[in-house]
């Protein structure tokens, strides 16, 4: 049992996977952060009077303090550059470390002035995790340069799995903590009482960092059963979210549900969760989606070219398109492209390129008769 559990545990964290998923997530995550924080000016915190300075335990322990606005201007510029470099994957490891360290300081700084928000805590954790990871091994300029120098692609490894899993865990713990806190401090009354109705009504009284998008919360508050459903769903999603770690079906249900929950909170209650939502990129199997996209692209390239090309622009084979395919081209244009498909070299090139058949002299004798019959 112990060894079985151990095996499962290690497999969960270190299942060898190709670098694509982590790399694409990395690119999107840092790009998302860059977009989210492009308009935020952290330097203004350097100008707030000392009376407001109420440092967080970690800032206090590390003896961190707000720098002068000019210094913060420089830091945030460096941070944004680091985010951009992480996104494109140039000097990825160093950039990720810089992004994590400066991210911790800059994103944490506003919370030292009397009120702690949590919208960016997960991002700091995610950046720290990525700083330890090898997220730049694919879909990055670093990877391109390395491949040119060493002529090989990185093999599947657990190195590309654990950062994603750990960010999943961090996110799950956030939701779990929120669910537990509600049951612990509010109990079942959090669902069954007028609590949600009151919370929705209060939200329009400028109590959050931003006002709700809409007053729909007030209309929902008018319906007691709807507020109970809303409260129950909230706790259910928060507590069930951790199942996303272990089961793909739970992942397919809970992650979108939590995403919608946060969007719903933003819309009805005000708190801004946009940066938090960026961390959802790690739940998406980008490599699988990219595979689908490439296949779709390949399919389109097979079917659409005759639509797009003019008869004088060269044969499809010259443009790298296979010719023996089902065509959706209208009848009149079909005839025009048909001339190009009569190229005698076309079938062999198609077979060799598209179906990866071995056409070496030894094997040719076995393949040739079939090919000719077709």
């Amino acid at each position: 049992m112990i060894s079985g559990l151990m095996r499962r545990w290690l497999w969960f964290w270190f299942e060898p996977t190709p670098p694509a998923r982590l790399a694409l997530s990395r690119a999107l995550f840092y790009a998302g952060l860059l977009i989210c924080y492009s308009w935020d000016d952290f330097s203004a915190w350097g100008g707030v009077s000392n009376e407001f300075w109420m440092p967080l335990p970690l800032f206090s322990a590390l003896r961190l303090f707000p720098l002068q606005p000019s210094a913060l201007d420089v830091l945030q510029a460096v941070w944004r550059i680091a985010l951009a470099l992480c996104s494109v994957g140039l000097f990825t490891r160093v950039s990720a470390i810089v992004a994590a360290v400066l991210g911790f300081y800059l994103l944490g700084l506003p919370h030292n002035f009397g009120q702690t928000f949590h919208v960016d805590a997960l991002l700091v954790i995610a950046m720290t995790i990525l700083a330890f990871s090898r997220a730049g091994d694919a879909y990055s300029i670093d990877a391109l340069l390395a491949r040119r120098a060493r002529h090989h692609r990185p093999a599947a490894s657990g190195e590309y799995t654990w950062p994603i899993r750990m960010i999943w865990l961090a996110m799950s713990l956030v939701f779990l903590a929120a669910g537990i806190a509600k049951l612990r401090w509010g109990g079942l009354a959090w669902i069954t009482s007028d609590n949600m109705r009151i919370v929705l009504m209060r939200a329009v009284y400028h109590v959050s960092d931003a006002d709700p998008w809409t007053d729909a919360g007030l209309r929902i508050a008018a319906s007691p059963w709807l507020t109970h459903v809303l409260a129950g769903s909230t706790i259910m999603i928060e507590l069930a979210f951790i199942a996303s770690l272990f089961h793909p079906v739970a992942r397919a249900v809970c992650v979108p549900a939590a995403f919608l929950l946060l969007v719903g909170i933003r819309a009805l209650m005000g708190p801004r969760f946009a940066p938090f939502l960026v961390a959802n990129v790690f739940w998406v199997p980008w490599d699988v989606l990219a595979g689908y996209a490439l296949r779709l692209l390949a399919w389109k390239r097979r079917t659409v070219p005759s639509l797009l090309e003019s008869p004088t622009s060269g044969t499809p084979l010259e443009r790298g398109w296979p010719t023996a395919s089902i065509s959706t081209v209208p009848e009149d244009e079909h005839d025009a492209s048909a001339e190009h498909r009569n190229d005698l070299d076309a079938p062999q090139k198609l077979v060799a390129k598209d179906f990866q058949l071995d056409i070496s002299p030894l094997n040719r004798a076995t393949h040739a008769p079939d090919f000719e019959r077709h």
């Binding site: 112990i2 952290f42 919370h111 928000f117 190195e159 537990i180 009354a189 209060r202 007030l218």
Partner: protein
């Protein structure tokens, strides 16, 4: 009896004169045609009637019963004294609570004569039960009773099959004992196992002869679970001295020495794995209501726990060395497991440290309800609200125009870098803290200066302010939120006036 006997039977005894009498009686009744044997009773500091009992048997003229006194306490000392005193080329051992079958001496002599390649011969020890035998006591629980039965077929024990024979029924060639040096006094228990390990390592074969039988009278006090539990605990303790778990390889062969490799508190990783496996089986047996299995696995757990404890006690290291040992052990453990994942073990360790930090810090905050950004209990909106009202602080600006009017400071560009929630929260926290309350005027002054500064530099288009007021405000929540900008009641807490225009960023 003039010359040297053929067999010397050594019995070490201590305060068991009653059972000793039965043992000696069984030896007196031995049928040994043409054989001479002597019985050496080693009195290991007995305070009962042992000498008198032996004296009774010394009257027998057929066999020689000798009495030796050994002051040093311990069965190894006793048996070694017996070996020292023995004169026969074969030294046989039995215990003071066992009775040999009538042909025991004859058979062991015959076995060693027929098998000159065998250095020793041992046989079965069969139980003589008292009136009742507990139902849980099956063959798996025989070891604590010193019962041994490996079946009807003879075989050799050796480095490739190191099954231990018990000294209650063992005969060894005297020359072999001389060569390997008797019983180890360091082992008040399991000394027979230790002796046989030396025998096997010297290349000797030990014959298991099933027709060589002694019978053990099982005492009622040995039929209790508590006796068995204690026996396994002690057995683990002494086996740790032998490092038994480490000198038998996975194919059951005896190794010359424990394999080198990382250890944790003196024991290699597989001992801990065995412990976990036994714990699992114990738990499963309990859940399946299989008491005999549960007892057996429970005893194995006890054995392994005491084994590990003893190894840890023997493994004396300084704290720095200990830390290095732990790190080496952990790294080696992860190195082994990291191979299938295409990662070095050190990476596995560092990732696990990260996981531990993440889970530990989150769990701490969840359990304690404390905030350690970036970790948090995420307790916002967690209390169940019951009153449809809102109490809070509200910052209002007093315009310079005449007549002056109050405007709520909610727009972010007016109170930059704060927002409408952060600023009242910060002010409320200052206001609630008696030590910081004195600072609130200065903080409001800062807000007013900042507002005017931002207005003058064109950051917002709000009206010029001549004062700033901090109110405690109260709202009765309106289902349509119509009173969201105008509190139902408010109390002035602080007011500052006369803004200073200062360059942006000046603190």
């Amino acid at each position: 009896m003039n010359g040297a006997p053929d067999v010397s039977v050594v019995i070490s005894t201590c305060n068991r004169c009653v059972s000793l009498a039965a043992t000696l009686e069984a030896l007196r009744r031995q049928i040994t045609p043409g054989l001479d044997f002597e019985v050496i009773v080693v009195d290991n500091n007995s305070s009962d009637h042992t000498p008198e009992i032996v004296k009774q048997f010394q009257a027998d003229e057929r066999h020689l019963f000798r009495y030796i006194f050994e002051r040093r306490q311990g069965v190894s000392y006793g048996r070694n004294a017996g070996i020292q005193a023995s004169r026969a080329p074969i030294v046989a051992f039995t215990d003071d609570d066992n009775c040999a079958d009538a042909d025991w001496v004859a058979r062991l002599k015959e076995a060693l004569d027929r098998h000159p390649e065998a250095a020793a011969v041992g046989g079965r020890i069969l139980p003589v039960w008292p009136a009742t035998k507990p139902s849980w006591l099956d063959e798996r629980h025989w070891s604590p009773l010193a019962i041994l039965d490996y079946g009807e077929r003879p075989f050799y024990t050796s480095v490739t099959d190191p099954r231990c024979l018990i000294t209650a029924n063992l005969a060894v060639r005297r020359e072999v004992l001389r060569a390997i040096g008797g019983f180890a006094p360091d082992f008040p228990r399991s000394q027979d196992h230790e002796l046989q390990i030396r025998l096997w390592r010297s290349g000797a074969l030990v014959l298991y002869a099933p027709d060589l039988v002694v019978r053990a009278h099982i005492k009622p006090e040995r039929l209790t679970r508590s006796y068995h539990r204690a026996w396994h605990a002690k057995h683990g303790y002494f086996m740790a001295l032998l490092q038994l778990q480490e000198i038998i390889d996975r194919n059951g062969n005896l190794l010359d020495a424990p394999a080198d490799g990382p250890r944790l508190y003196g024991s290699p990783g597989f001992v801990y794995r065995q412990l976990f496996r036994e714990m699992k089986l114990w738990l499963v047996a309990i859940l399946r209501r299989q008491p005999s299995d549960a007892f057996s696995h429970g005893n194995s757990v006890r054995y392994l726990v005491h084994y590990i404890r003893r190894r840890a006690a023997l493994d004396r290291l300084g704290s720095a060395q200990r830390m290095r040992q732990v790190l080496t052990f952990v790294r080696a453990h992860f190195e082994k497991h990291s191979r299938p994942f295409g990662m070095p073990g050190t990476r596995l360790v560092s990732v696990h440290i990260l996981i531990a930090i993440l889970v530990g810090a989150s769990a701490y905050d969840i359990v304690r309800g404390r905030e350690h950004w970036p970790f948090s209990p995420y307790a916002m909106f967690s209390t169940a609200e019951s009153e449809p009202r809102l109490d809070g602080l509200r910052l209002m600006g007093v315009t310079s125009e005449t007549p002056a009017r109050e405007i709520p400071l909610l727009e972010e560009d007016m109170i930059e870098p704060f927002d409408q929630a952060r600023l009242p929260s910060a002010l409320a926290r200052m206001y609630q803290d008696p030590e910081r309350r004195t600072l609130i005027r200065q903080a409001l002054r800062d807000c007013l200066d900042r507002y005017e500064n931002l207005r003058v530099t064109g950051h917002h288009s709000g009206p010029p302010l001549r004062a700033l007021r901090l109110y405690q405000a109260h709202w009765a929540l309106d289902p349509q939120g119509r009173n969201r900008d105008v509190p139902d009641a408010k109390w002035l807490l602080e007011e500052v006036d006369g803004p200073r225009i200062v360059p942006r960023g000046l603190r």
